[in-house]
Amino acid sequence: MIALLARDLRLAMRAGGGFGLGLAFFLIVVVLVPFGVGPQSALLSTIAPGILWLGALLACLLSLDRILALDWEDGSLDLLATSPLPMEGIVSVKALAHWLTTGLPLVLAAPVLGILLNLPASGFGWLVASLALGTPALSVIGTFGAALTVGLKRGGLLLSLLVLPLYMPTLIFGAEVARRGAEGLAPGTPLALLAGITCGTIALLPFASAAVLKVNLR
């Protein structure tokens, strides 16, 4: 499974692999926000945690179909299915690869973008913490959505429609942690709930994703 992970990481890093596109999108969204709502610092400070969370979430969303579609198209997915690796392991590795190449860079970029949005000083740490805890869930949930739509041409829009409602609990608690941190309040409860959701999805959702892929590979 390590070999699979290494392969996926290498593929993502190559030119045309999509690495960096998520970051670029994140940047663009954050830059667009002040143009949309006006440049007043106080307003931007208030909405900064939410916007940063939304931007990261959308950037994750956009790179989801890459998780499985490429392997589906060239037949590698069929090969992987016949290998001795359990399908649950395969989808977990795929999700991990997505997180390492998309989620993690977003987490690291967020503080920098926070400066653009006048994020209050106390908010930076909690922003990074909430994103670090939340983005793995986004990758795992996204892998489930990608598995559902893997066989479809132009399934991107459907993928978004399916995945975005599933993202809501993570978004709610993650943004709440970031917001409370920015306002200097205690973020303990949403942090725990966010962590709970992430752990739950990592532990259980791969079984659903694997079942879905097996159906699609029939």
Partner: protein, 246 residues
């Protein structure tokens, strides 16, 4: 070639035969209860001293909200039956119920928002209950979209069943998340009438009749739509055979 072999499962045929007998009765009783409940509630009940005439909206809002949730629960059960027992009628019933549930959710949303307008002063407020129904609406949308997107009937049935399962867990999660999300705001404004909670009999009775009407309407519509799905599936199978022969 054995003609009956195309009715690959005895179940669909028996389902249609049984519902042939049952459906008209269900439909008529549904129409009757709906008419009685709504007419009674609209014309023959007093106004609430706090909410004025808007209390009349409960005869639509509460039953619709009830059915919005129950429809999803029914889809969950039938999806499980499909996964475990592979009865096609079960999968098709889930598919049939989704649009009905979605319309119920929409009615609950619209009436809920309108009901809140005199209280909140706006046509929409991110009240936890309303927001939860909005999220439920999105789940219905995604479920229906997935059925429409996949060509192979069995694959579609399997994928939508798994989506329904996973979606149910997340819908529950969202409910708690949304309650948490909105607890800080002005709380006095949430829709507070629940059946049985200090509600006078003069309101409760027409409400129960209306709820019964909605339940039976749901049943009738799902029966009609499931029969349609069964026939459509048979039609697709026959068309495929024709194409193969040509």
């Amino acid at each position: 070639m054995n003609i009956n072999a195309l009715w690959a499962y005895a179940n669909p045929k028996k389902f249609i035969e049984t519902t042939d007998r049952v459906l008209p009765a269900v439909a008529w009783i549904a129409a009757l209860m709906l008419a009685v409940g709504l007419v009674w509630g609209f014309f023959f009940t007093p106004d609430d001293f706090r909410q004025g005439a808007t209390v009349k909206i409960i005869y639509l809002h509460v039953p619709a909200a009830l059915m919005a949730i129950n429809a999803w629960l029914m889809m969950l059960v039938t999806s499980l039956i499909w996964i475990v027992r592979r009865h096609h009628v079960s999968a098709l019933a889930a598919r049939a119920a989704a649009p009905v549930g979605m319309v119920m959710t929409l009615i609950a949303l619209v009436t809920g928002a309108i009901w809140g307008q005199p209280m909140w002063g706006t046509w929409w407020a991110w009240d936890p209950r309303l927001t939860s129904f909005l999220i439920l609406f999105l789940f219905y949308l995604g479920y229906i979209a997935l059925w429409e997107a996949i060509e192979n009937d069995d694959t579609a049935a399997d994928l939508t069943a798994i989506l329904c399962l996973v979606g149910s867990v997340f819908a529950l999660l969202s409910r708690y998340a949304v309650n948490f999300w909105n607890q800080g705001l002005h709380q006095g404004a949430s829709l507070s009438i629940r059946p049985g909670e200090r509600m006078d009999m003069v309101f409760k009775l027409p409400l129960y009749v209306s709820m019964a009407g909605f339940v039976l309407l749901f049943v009738a519509l799902v029966l009609v739509r499931t029969r349609t799905e069964i026939r459509a599936r048979r039609m697709r199978a026959l068309l495929a055979r024709e194409r193969m022969r040509a």
